[in-house]
């Protein structure tokens, strides 16, 4: 198993539980908006501390509440493509792309900037500032930035959100190529059934768990 995840996350009175094992390939966390799918990704990335549980990725324990393990995000090596991209507004596209690349040890890198810009078709954008990019362009840069940090897996949060029909198709092809050509395991959050049916090797339903007792 590549992902072994069993966590309970408390977020503002709502409890989200994720308990699943998944092989490499693309695993979709599927559920209605507000179910807490993003919280599960945040927990895997180390940006949100679960109340309890255990997160193992590729045999490496990232979080274990009982053993007191909680690796900081910078040591987890999970590439995260955020729903809002979160490109650094004060850096050019090129500097955004190499942000993570500079920080990982030589041996952990598996893609060069040239390969990434070629793979994503963003060579003409390198000197631009993020605010000048269209939605599809920014999404491709965000994917490139995550790939260049030499991740062992990719976390994608609604990567087709806020895109028009043509851009959706374009980004979906990129994701398929990450899955099939780069063979990078992906945890993929979506609320769109057609998208999940097309992309996912495995689907994990996520719904917010037990409501607080006061709330019937």
């Amino acid at each position: 198993m590549f992902f072994e995840i069993d966590v309970t996350i408390r977020r503002g009175g709502q409890t989200v539980s994720g308990d699943f094992k998944a092989l490499s390939g693309l695993t979709a966390l599927f559920g209605p908006s507000g179910a807490g799918k993003t919280s599960v990704l945040d927990a895997v990335a180390g940006l949100l501390r679960p109340e309890r549980g255990r997160i193992v990725v590729d045999g490496r324990v990232l979080f274990d509440s009982e053993a007191g393990v909680n690796l900081p995000p910078e040591e987890r090596r999970c590439g995260y493509v955020f729903q809002e991209n979160r490109l650094f507004p004060h850096k050019t596209v090129a500097d955004n792309l190499i942000f993570g690349l500079r920080l990982v040890p030589q041996g952990a890198r598996w893609m060069t900037p040239d390969e990434a810009t070629e793979f994503l078709g963003i060579g003409h954008l390198l000197k631009r500032m993020p605010r000048t990019l269209s939605g599809g362009e920014a999404r491709r840069v965000a994917i490139g930035r995550a790939l260049l940090a030499g991740p062992r897996c990719l976390l994608m949060d609604e990567p087709l959100a806020f895109l028009d029909e043509n851009r959706r198709e374009e980004i979906m092809r990129v994701i398929e190529r990450v899955r099939d050509e780069l063979r990078l395991p992906i945890l993929y959050v979506s609320h769109d059934r057609s998208e999940v049916e097309r992309l996912a090797d495995q689907v994990i339903p996520i719904h917010s768990g037990s409501r607080p007792p006061a709330d019937p």
Binding site: A45, G46, L47, P72, P73, E74, R76, R77, C78, G79, Y80, F82, E84, R86, F88, P89, H90, F99, G100, L103, V104, M129, R131, R145, A146, A149
Partner: protein, 232 residues
């Protein structure tokens, strides 16, 4: 307008006092802004109020409190002179302390606002890309907050250049040592037939303050990465 030697002395002293005040206040102001923007703790309201105190107190009272604390027999003043042989009272360094205390609230406010405007989600993104806390701070948080930090320094500088009440109360009005521009204007006003001299000093004052403002706009625009980084 060519400055006389006496005027140069006043301007140089004012600049020296204000630069020292801002440099000394900068790390303290930034630390306070950081704590107030990012941390939650008991007594935060109290700290916030304390930082803002010099803004709302009559400057004379601030100067008097400094006199009590840093005077020859004051608790801090005695400590400084016993341990380091440093006296602040009636010295230009004391004028800088008074200016720093008066400038601090303005600096903290501007820096706090800019730190609060930095999206913590961007810091999370940096962490997920392999950056530790410090690298994230220096590569993401600090550059994004820099227009506000510059703004805070300029506001603080302008406030320091104009400081009067706390300064004259704490370190008196000694020519060449603590007689900064506003104090010099005040002293000159006491002399009969001094209208022209006062006018000259007033013009110098306006030029200095405007200069600081223009410089800060230039700096903010340069670091504004296209979002229109305005200081004011």
């Amino acid at each position: 307008m060519i400055l006389s030697e006496a005027e140069w002395e006043i301007v140089a002293l004012s600049l020296r006092v204000s630069f020292l005040a801002i440099l000394a206040a900068l790390p303290i102001a930034f630390a306070l802004a950081w704590v107030l923007a990012r941390k939650r703790f008991a007594g935060k309201v109290l700290l916030d109020a304390l930082v803002h105190l010099p803004l709302v107190l009559p400057p004379v009272v601030t100067g008097w409190l400094l006199l009590i604390a840093f005077g020859v027999n004051g608790p801090i003043g005695r400590l400084l002179s016993d341990w380091f042989g440093v006296t602040l009272i009636f010295r230009w360094t004391g004028a800088a302390l008074a200016a720093a205390v008066m400038a601090l609230p303005l600096m903290v406010r501007a820096m706090r606002l800019s730190l609060e405007a930095v999206d913590p989600k961007l810091e999370g993104a940096a962490r997920s890309l392999g950056a530790g806390r410090w690298r994230t701070f220096f590569e993401v948080t600090l550059p994004l907050a820099s227009p506000g930090i510059v703004a805070g320094m300029v506001l603080g500088f302008a406030r320091s250049i104009g400081e009067f009440g706390a300064t004259i109360t704490f370190v008196s009005n000694i020519p060449g040592e603590t007689r900064t521009l506003p104090l010099a204007i005040y002293s000159t006003l006491q002399l009969p037939g001094s209208e022209a001299a006062v006018a000259r000093l007033a013009v110098i004052s306006v030029v200095l303050s405007l200069g600081a403002l223009v410089l800060s706009e230039v700096l903010a625009r340069r670091s504004g990465y296209g979002r229109g980084g305005h200081v004011l």
